[in-house]
Subunit: 404 residues, 2 copies
């Protein structure tokens, strides 16, 4: 398996495009994206657990009942959530996209992201769709990645090449992250495509299994969005024997998927609203997987620790505090904590108590862009990682006047 270029269009048979159609006032920001598969594809998805769900989710869920899809339409600038006509607009988005592509509306995945509860009309989407569809190309992945951004500062893409049944397969994805992100089932918007052949049921199994250790372990601000979903389309054009059960091919597929999703998780966390640093909490030595994940999430979600990391302050007491209130049954007197970055590793706590360390060395380590918080529980052999970012002035600025 190796990383390749091409993002959402890396796999055979996929084209994409993104344009500004007028939902967002800023003309330099794209707000409508389309992804298309030359042939119908196996499709799987996971959705937000928020009881308040964007109208597009209900429509997508219905469309994916048969496990098949051929296109994704997604707008940014308006979440199409808590609008009286939300369902109607999501249905219209599917129908208009299907019409342009000459496919069944029920084979369209529809998504929206942006402000909740703002009035929305179909007009700019209807007006923009012909040009959007006409511009679909193998080179359009970048534009599509831009069209789903909200307060994201960089587009998020990943792709890998791998082998299945003697055939070369590719898988790529794009993601939209930034704010209102918290681990509680599928968070953020992620679209993944692959030319591997896999049955809808096994694709869903792969995706559901993957998100527990990837997207569900990312937290920016503890808020679980109303609109988030992760979808995968697998069109089979690589020509490998279709994966219909567990086995070496399914394992290889899972590894490729995990490689793409971990990359997108890190990109999403590192570009969290206002973030200056990517934080990764790696928990090892846990008695069980649930404990490892609970501890990692709790540490990565602590506002106090996030602010300390912004200030490059090795305030390890806040790590211990977050472990203590995580709800996991941890023997805090066995816990070791260290910080690591490209500048080195520094141990700050052993067996639950502070150790002498150089504040200057710790500062140099914590001033880097990617920080690992290493937690060794010394109670078993399970491990987990969680991703987040620091809490900064800019998070407050961005969210203090998001709508205006």
């Amino acid at each position: 398996m190796k990383a390749v270029e091409g993002g959402i269009c890396a796999a055979q048979g996929f084209t994409a495009n993104g344009i500004h159609c007028g939902i967002r006032k800023n003309h330099s920001k794209k707000d409508l994206s389309l992804i298309f598969s030359a042939v119908p594809a196996s499709a799987a998805a996971v959705y937000t657990t928020n009881l308040v769900k964007g109208a597009p989710l209900a429509v997508t869920k219905k469309h994916l009942e048969n496990g098949v899809a051929q296109a994704v339409i997604c707008n940014s600038g308006n979440a199409n959530t808590c609008n009286a006509n939300g369902r109607e607009i999501a249905e219209a988005m599917s129908a208009l996209a299907a019409d342009q592509l000459g496919i069944d509306p029920a084979d369209v995945v529809v998504a929206s992201t942006g402000v909740i509860g703002q009035p929305m009309t179909i007009d700019p989407i209807a007006a923009g769709l012909p040009a959007l569809a006409a511009g679909l190309s193998r080179e359009g992945g970048e534009a599509a990645a831009e069209g789903i951004m909200t307060t994201d500062t960089v587009k998020k893409e990943a792709a890998v090449e791998f082998r299945l049944g003697g055939k070369t397969c590719r898988m790529g994805g794009i993601a939209k992250g930034s704010g209102m992100i918290h681990p509680n089932m599928a968070t953020m918007l992620v679209f993944i495509t692959t030319d591997a052949a896999i049955s809808p049921a096994m694709l869903q199994k792969a995706l559901s299994g993957d998100v527990a250790g990837t997207f569900n372990m990312v937290s920016i601000d503890g808020d679980t969005s109303t609109n988030d979903m992760v979808t995968v389309l697998a069109n089979g054009m690589a020509g490998n024997p279709e994966i219909t059960a567990e086995g070496p091919d399914f394992t290889a597929f899972m590894q490729a998927l995990n490689s793409v999703t971990i990359s997108l998780c890190r990109q999403i966390a590192g570009d969290g609203e206002g973030a200056t640093k990517l934080l990764e909490c790696r928990v090892t030595g846990a008695a069980d997987l649930k404990t490892a994940r609970t501890v990692a999430k709790s540490v990565i979600c602590s506002s106090l620790l996030k602010a300390a990391m912004f200030g490059a302050d090795a305030n390890w007491g806040r790590v211990l505090c977050a472990i203590g209130y995580s709800g996991a049954a941890v023997d805090v007197n066995k816990v070791d904590v260290a910080f690591r970055s490209c500048r080195g590793t520094i141990a700050v706590c052993e067996k639950g108590a502070g150790v002498d360390f150089s504040e200057e060395e710790a500062k140099q380590i914590l001033l880097q862009k990617e920080i690992e918080i290493l937690v060794e529980l010394n109670s078993g052999s399970e491990s987990a990682a969680a991703w987040g970012c620091d809490l900064t002035y800019d998070y407050v600025r961005i969210n203090g006047d998001y709508r205006t």
Copy 2:
């Protein structure tokens, strides 16, 4: 019942004092407080649920096993948590205070607040205690309130006068809040005194019953501290017949307690780290109390909503979003949301969807110092309130370099 002056010394028989002994580097900041009852008092407490617990909590817990105490010693500037000699220092604090006061060390409540995992010595406390004890007076409540402050910007005091069994009783309290505050059993440091006569068992019952709807409904940043506790001393000097069971006197006592605790909750929330506004979420029309409390807490904890309130932005979609991910079984299509302040009330959401409202009017309402977020679930008759504050640049500044 009426509000009175005097704080922690409002009730008969209580004296207090606070001084700078040298734990904190800044000489203008008090860092050691003492509260003393002329006679032994019934005592009750609730403690943090964090598995990482400050050493003073273990000592206090042991001292309160018999339900009796006569003094409280508390330092700020160092949490005495995750220190190898923590227990020893907490024991020494009790012993030295008891020695000065001529009482049993087992009748001393000991508490610490400040940075976790910093080395600590008993020296400044031992050196300061004689002057601290010598200066105990009825006028010392304010100094005691100052001595327990960390990043608090104002001291927090409350007191009420009420009648029990034909006698005038008083109850007062002081609190330390600010950061690392989240509803999960007793949060923050709170000391309450009263001259009412009540058995230790009924005092504990009153306190445990009260915190569920008061201190456990306050959140500043979602972090549950390692050191927090709420204690009440009731010395009986008002001369009322001792409360030993439920009945009208117990109810009156609960009301007085609730009046003091609600006042302290509002003071703590309004002075949250970096806060410019006090936020109160009032949930009504819930099917049951648990739902009401869960929804109120979820709204008050949302970083996105807190940032929007800082920006005076009526972004009600974030209220609905927080209700949706709260975990409570709520019919989101029945939810009404309004914002209220001294400038008026504005409805922003009805039956789960946006209503037309004046952005200018909303702005004026949200620019005030105390904001109520009103959530009507239209599904029953239970209600709850939760308190918090806005998320500001200063929260980030304060916590980005707390130790330096």
